[in-house]
Amino acid sequence: MNRNSAILLSAIRGPLLMITLGALVALDYFAGYRFSRTWPVLIIVYGVLKLLEKIAAQPPARPPSGYVASQDSVI
């Protein structure tokens, strides 16, 4: 986990949400799971991706001296 993976996670968040949205509507149309009931999945996916980003943006376990965590966090 490093800063690059945080940027990557941030970049793929949109596409993944788009895929989730499409999949939920397709499930509604073809499998009968109504979107009106499955929409919270979108929030969960968004939350999980955000969480992964945060974890990825955490500073290394032993920061160099003088390191200030908040400067490096990408949220």
Binding site: S10, G14, P15, I19, L21, G22, V25, Y29
Partner: protein, 415 residues
């Protein structure tokens, strides 16, 4: 679109191809297909973008902060709205409420017209015909016959073509007899159905119509007619021998008979040769009535009024908050007139017996001949003019043209 992504060009190409297909090969029915499969567009979009980003990451190229920009999300939202509307129009009776959006969505799909299988049922004397709320137009005609007969066609605005025979079975017009009442119930089937009904009834029937949209055209009925609902379309009445009651959220109208014709639209009411007492209350309509008898009570919030009573002038009580009033009286009429405007001018083209009294803002005009009926005209803002009607002006020069739907014959296959 974000620089470097192939999604933007792909979407443009896709839209172009879609409309080209629709214009040149309508039989492919691409939008019918899209109505069902549009979610996969979003999935494909997401997958392509995902692959792009992973590819860039593998090549250590700089990555965008957001995989999908705000503008792209807006476009996706539009696709969702359009796709959702098309799907709903195809799979249920739901239609978008917003007129513009509904028209747009329905235009993408195709409409199919089917003749309705004719239905008829004998109706006892003094038949009460009840036409239930439905979407479409209806024409009711009195015929010297003792049956109620419904023919017509239905237009299915949907995205997929049901089998015609199946449609006829699924969505017949129902005729139900409940006591003295004969109920016409056009059932609505799959997709959006617009019905054009042609109903003939025994001439002495009474008519009750509860409508939602579309045009009503009622002719040659010798029983009372009641029409209520909220109409997007027009209502036309002609040759009705008994009281007429009309009500919608913005207007009420009643009279005792219509030997002539009435034409009501959302902006205008025109009537020629109606038997009073005539009572009309409306928010905002222009009103032109000629050849009315007994009495007239007219109350408008806004609208111009043109009146030309017949040879014998009836009692009148006319108010509008804003609008001009024009009254044409026969030269030899008897009346007791008092008309006023709070802000506006008064024109006396009648002459002799009338006196104009103009104050700073408003004006009044009054006068009486041989103690005739009372005519009270009032406008809050507007001009009042009183003139002599010429002999041929018992009806207006452009008297109501009542177009009948016979102009466009119904495609009915009698079986």
């Amino acid at each position: 679109m974000r620089r470097g992504s192939i999604i933007g060009p792909l979407i443009l190409i896709g839209i172009g191809v879609l409309f080209l297909l629709r214009n040149f090969w309508p039989e492919i029915a691409v939008f019918d297909f899209l109505a069902l499969y549009w979610p996969f567009l979003l999935i494909a979009w997401g997958v392509i973008r995902l692959v792009e980003i992973l590819f860039w990451a593998a090549q250590s190229r700089p990555l965008p902060r957001n995989g999908i920009s705000g503008g792209e999300w807006l476009l996706a939202l539009f696709i969702c709205l359009l796709g959702g509307s098309m799907y709903a129009a195809q799979h249920s009776e739901w239609l978008p409420r917003m007129r513009v959006w509904r028209g747009f969505v329905l235009n993408l799909g195709e409409s199919h017209q089917y003749p309705l299988a004719p239905v008829e049922m004998p109706c006892p004397k003094n038949c009460q015909v009840v036409i239930e709320s439905f979407r479409g137009n209806v024409r009711i005609t009195g015929m010297s016959d003792s049956v109620v007969r419904v023919t017509g066609r239905e237009t299915i605005l949907s995205f997929h073509r049901p089998h015609p025979d199946l449609t006829n079975q699924q969505t017949p017009v129902q005729l139900l007899q409940q006591g003295d009442k004969m109920i016409v119930r056009p059932s609505e089937g799959q997709g959006a159905v617009l019905a054009d009904l042609d109903i003939t009834v025994p001439p002495n029937s009474s008519i009750q119509a509860h409508g939602r949209s579309g045009d009503f055209n009622i002719e040659d009925i010798n029983g009372p007619v009641t029409v209520d609902g909220s109409y997007g379309g027009e209502v036309q009445l002609r040759n009705v021998g008994q009281p007429v009651r009309y009500r919608d959220p913005r207007m009420t109208f009643s009279c005792e008979a219509v030997p002539g014709a009435i034409h009501m639209t959302r902006s205008e009411v025109r009537a020629d040769n109606v038997a009073g007492p005539v009572v009309l209350t409306a928010r905002s309509r222009d009103v032109r009535i000629s050849g009315f008898t007994q009495s007239l009570a007219l109350m408008l919030d806004r609208g111009d009024i043109q009146l030309a009573p017949g040879s014998s002038v009836p009692k009148m009580d006319v108010h509008t908050r804003s609008g001009d009033i024009d009254l044409a009286l026969p030269p030899d009429a008897k009346f007791d007139l008092s008309a006023s405007t709070d802000r506006g001018e008064v024109h006396n083209d009648y002459g002799g017996p009338l006196n104009v009294d103009a104050s700073t803002r408003g004006a009044t005009i009054s006068g009486s001949v041989a103690g005739g009926p009372q005519l009270r005209l009032e406008t809050g803002r507007g001009d009042v003019s009183i003139r002599k009607s010429s002999t041929e002006e018992t009806s207006f020069p452009e008297s109501p043209q009542i177009p009948t739907s016979t102009d466009e014959p119904l495609h009915v296959e009698h079986q």
